[in-house]
Amino acid sequence: MPTVSMTVNGKAVSADVESRTLLVHYIRDHIGLTGTHVGCDTSQCGACVVHVNGKSVKSCSTLAVQAEGADVTTIEGLASGEELHPMQAAFKENHGLQCGFCTPGMVMSAVDLANNMKNLDEATIREQLDGNICRCTGYHNIVKSIKDGAERMGG
């Protein structure tokens, strides 16, 4: 079994895993960070989104070995201590989550979106959110949260 090493949330980690191990299972089962979720088996729902070298990636469609040496950020790495990241704070303020299951992927996608596009309007947010499914909110408050979060991030 190959040894796969990377940096997760600023910390060097390493584990011996089968070559076929997906990044999401590496993160959940070998590193023990269970904030990244698995909601489907066809790379559609986006509950597993993390950042790999600063870009959002569906960790269910990436092999752990592909992230060898990478700098990975998961939902657990977003806040600074007790202080929420501006996007997390915006989700809380705007009731952008209900059951919380899609939330980690939603927030990680939203942060990447806000980093890449400025002056986000509602239509753009809705279009860009195509890879993340939520069953609870009807998206109304998620869209509101992302707009607010992007503004808080300086966009």
């Binding site: 089968e18 076929r20 959940r28 089962d29 960070l33 269970t34 904030g35 990244t36 979720h37 698995v38 909601g39 489907c40 088996d41 066809t42 559609q44 729902c45 509950a47 998961t74 939902i75 657990e76 977003l78 806040a79 929420l84 997390q88 989700f91 809380k92 303020e93 009731h95 989550l97 209900q98 059951c99 919380g100 299951f101 899609c102 939330t103 980690p104 927030v107 509602e122 239509a123 947010i125 809705r126 279009e127 959110l129 195509d130 993340n132 499914i133 939520c134 069953r135 609870c136 909110t137 009807g138 998206y139 109304h140 408050n141 998620i142 869209v143």
Partner: protein
């Protein structure tokens, strides 16, 4: 109103852990020595099993055990049950109830049916070995199609001749016939309520453990009602005695009904963990969720509405065929009967109603409660036939509804179909919705659309639902096998903080926040000093869980009742300490005060005194810890009006919801932010059903919509923003005046959407989901 009390938009306590990746869902939990489960599932919709050969699979790497239905039965594990008996027409006392083995015994009845359990050291090993199990199937013809099942050439279960589960009726057939005989106009529609798949984002999962030392089981499971899981698994499945089985439903990622039910997987894993001597974890893959979670809706109906010349409703006659799937799920039988036809009066004074329902078996996944459960089906049928009648009689659809509304001074109002509505003002909701939706400006907007080559439509839905199910005696009288009270346990700690345990369950509804607001309001305790505990049968006293929008109406009432007991006892302690008569003690804002004086004792001081009772009233027990059970006096009846406006491009059939307005009467609202969120989510699911979603089986019983590549879940760019408002007639029948808000959006929205689309398409009938192709066809026909 205080900043954290009833009516305040308090930001949610539970969000911190969900937003930082610290939620604790079943699949996040791992224990030492854990093994992994995979189920061998039927690839056929209907087949005999002539043999199972697991020799090769058992020898595969990492396999711990392979178990079948024969071993399950040999250990005396009982079949899965349905907890609601439906008596039929002509004195038939019980519905046909085929045996539902948790692991198949000689026959499989739908694709995904459970054949064997494989337990292995890793998930990959379990999955590989499951594929190696050789099952000798002899295929049988499949019974597919809700309207085709009755008296099909193939019978699925011997216990259900003609594939009939029940033939049930409600209402007065002869009075209804007489109403039709006197009608000036009759509107008839044939209508399908499409089958949908719940798709909570967290797939179902369980982790079963047996402690050899104590003889106790612990089951972590994705459940909306852990006490009900414990009760059914002990009383009926017999996998563990009730007092030895701890069921924990930790954070649960959405339910929408699909996590009410007691499924094969948790029963089998709880039985098997003792047999193999290791903890067993099972987590559904999404493809398994599609195949095996209980599906929703799936009705084929004919509705006839009789009206007089002024548009007054005289009678309603309905026949419904309801697809129950291959077996009866936990509450399946009640959904198309008592949860459905009892709502057919809607918000109207229709004096005569008759409905009969044939529940049928097909070779498909079991069908059970899905957000709204029967009430969306009733609302869809009723609001479609009312809208159609308005078109046929050339009466404004809002006006037709207004002419038939039960008036505010008519409550309590007895409908012809069981329910007695407690309170409401339907006209107020209609007026407000029309105002918010700018119905007056619609004609100009339609003209503008038409000038751009587009079509525009407006659709109404005036709904009522029955929440907070229900007085236990009524449930029993109608065939339900359980009581539907709720409990609450309020424990003041010596330091003045409060732990509240209740039997409802939070899987997105914000109970940790809303219930704390109720306690904060009633007992004057700062919200940060209140902990709400749910989801663990070893912690909460007992409870019936969360579904049917019952948590605040029933669970909230139990909390108020327990809080009243706390105040009552606190008065005794304060009277003693303040040297006053108990009758002179007043309680407000967390302070016990001697009336007309400045002598005061805070509830935290009272709590401390109760646990350190050095100076204490004689005959009063130490401690400040009270429990209450609350059995509701009636259902609650949220109602409202939703208005949808669409614009359609007739050249492509592309439909855009350009305005969606919802006005709901939920009575007292504890947290308006949470309630709005519930409405948004419900509408999202309802729009999904109306425009995008549909579970399709082919003629062989293969689910062809078995993944997110095939089943169209609503995504952000399929939905609009929602224009949400409220009216309020607080329920007089519970202490908070609440009604429940979890399902209204899913109940109200499908007819609003379809009425708008068909309005735009010149009145053509379109069945859900109104896909782009169907809408294009309708536009072509209209032009």
């Amino acid at each position: 109103m205080t900043e954290t009390g009833i009516g305040a938009a308090v930001r949610r306590t539970e969000d911190q852990r969900f937003l930082t990746g610290n939620g604790n869902y079943t699949d996040d939990i791992n224990v030492f020595g854990q093994t992994y489960a995979a189920f061998v599932r039927s690839p056929h919709a209907h087949a005999k099993i002539n043999g199972i050969n697991s020799t090769a699979a058992a020898a595969a790497d990492g396999v711990v055990a392979i178990l079948t239905g024969e071993e399950l039965a040999a250990d005396g594990v009982g079949p899965l049950i349905c907890g609601w008996n439906i008596a039929g027409k002509n004195g038939v006392e019980a519905h046909n109830s085929p045996v539902h083995h948790a692991l198949a015994m000689g026959k499989v009845n739908y694709v995904g049916d459970h054949v064997a359990l494989v337990v292995a050291e890793t998930q990959a090993q379990a999955d590989s070995a499951a594929e190696m199990v050789e099952v000798d199937y002899e295929e049988l013809p499949a019974v597919i199609g809700t309207g085709k099942a009755l008296n099909h050439a193939t019978t699925i279960h011997e216990e259900a001749p003609g594939n009939m589960c029940y033939d049930w009726e409600i209402g007065d057939a002869s009075a209804t016939d007489a109403a039709f005989a006197n009608a000036a106009h009759t509107t008839t529609i044939e209508i399908v309520n499409n089958r949908v798949i719940p798709n909570a984002m967290e797939p179902r999962a369980c982790l079963a453990q047996f402690n050899k030392g104590t003889g106790d089981w612990t089951l972590h499971v994705t459940s909306q009602n852990p006490h009900v899981h414990r009760l059914v698994m002990s009383a009926f499945n017999g996998v563990a005695p009730e007092h030895k089985l701890r069921v924990i439903a930790p954070d649960v990622g959405g339910g929408f009904g699909s996590k009410i039910f007691i499924y094969a997987e948790e029963v089998v894993c709880t039985w098997a963990t003792r047999k193999v001597g290791r903890p067993i974890k099972w987590t559904a893959k999404r493809s398994e969720s599609f195949l095996c979670d209980a599906h929703g809706r799936d009705h084929v109906s004919k509705a006839e509405l009789a009206l007089d010349a002024d548009g007054k409703f005289l009678g309603l006659r309905v026949n419904t065929k309801a697809n129950l799937g291959s077996y009866l799920s936990t509450f399946a039988s009640a959904v198309p009967t008592y949860m459905y036809a009892t709502l057919l009066a809607g918000t109207y004074t229709t004096p005569a109603i008759y409905c009969d329902v044939q529940g049928v078996f097909t070779n498909t996944a079991p069908v059970d409660a899905y957000r709204g459960a029967g009430r969306p089906e009733a609302t869809y049928l009723l609001e479609r036939v009312v809208e159609t009648a308005a078109r046929e009689m050339n009466i404004d659809p809002a006006d037709l509804r207004r002419r038939n509304y039960i008036q505010p001074d008519a409550f309590p109002y007895q409908t012809p179909v069981v329910h007695q509505y407690d309170i409401g003002d339907y006209g107020a909701s209609l007026d407000k919705a029309c105002d918010m939706a700018d119905v007056g400006g619609f004609a100009a907007r339609r003209a503008d659309s038409e000038s751009r080559g587009k079509r525009r439509g407006l659709g109404y839905s005036s709904y009522i639902e029955a929440c907070g199910i229900a007085p236990s005696a009524a449930v029993g009288a109608l065939g339900g096998g359980v009581g539907l009270w709720e409990s609450a346990d309020i424990r003041f700690n010596a330091t003045g903080s409060v732990t509240v345990m209740t039997g409802t369950h939070n899987h997105g509804q914000g109970h940790e926040t809303a219930f704390a607001q109720v306690i904060s309001e009633k007992l004057g305790v700062p919200i940060e000093n209140i902990e709400i505990v749910e989801g663990d049968t070893d912690k909460g006293p007992f409870g019936m869980g969360t579904y049917g929008s019952r948590s605040i109406a029933v669970g909230g009432s139990a909390i108020v009742k327990a809080a009243d007991k706390i105040v009552e006892k606190g008065k005794k302690i304060a009277a003693h300490c303040l040297e006053a008569a108990e009758d002179d003690i007043e309680f407000a804002g967390g302070n016990f005060t001697v009336a007309g004086t400045d002598k005061v004792m805070n509830i935290a001081e009272v709590a401390f005194t109760a646990y350190v009772p050095h100076n204490y009233p004689e005959g009063v027990e130490p401690g400040l810890h009270e429990q209450a059970f609350y059995d509701p006096l009636n259902f609650s009846f949220p109602a409202g009006v939703h208005i949808c406006e669409v614009e359609i491009d007739p050249t492509t059939g592309e439909t855009e919801i350009v305005n969606y307005t919802a006005v709901d009467d939920f009575g007292t609202i504890i947290n308006p932010m949470i309630v709005e969120g519930q409405v948004h989510g419900g509408i999202g699911q309802g729009v999904g059903q109306a425009m995008l979603e549909g579970a399709n089986y082919d003629e062989n019983g293969q689910l062809v919509t078995g993944s997110y590549m095939d089943y169209t879940m609503p995504r952000a760019d399929n939905l609009p923003n929602f224009n949400v408002g409220t009216t309020s007639t607080p329920s007089p029948l519970n202490p908070l005046g609440v009604k429940g808000a979890g399902e209204a959006g899913a109940i109200a929205s499908p007819p609003a959407v379809i009425n708008a689309i068909t309005d735009a398409c010149g009145g053509a009938m379109i069945d859900m989901p109104a896909t782009q192709e169907k809408v294009w066809q309708a536009c072509q026909a209209a032009e």
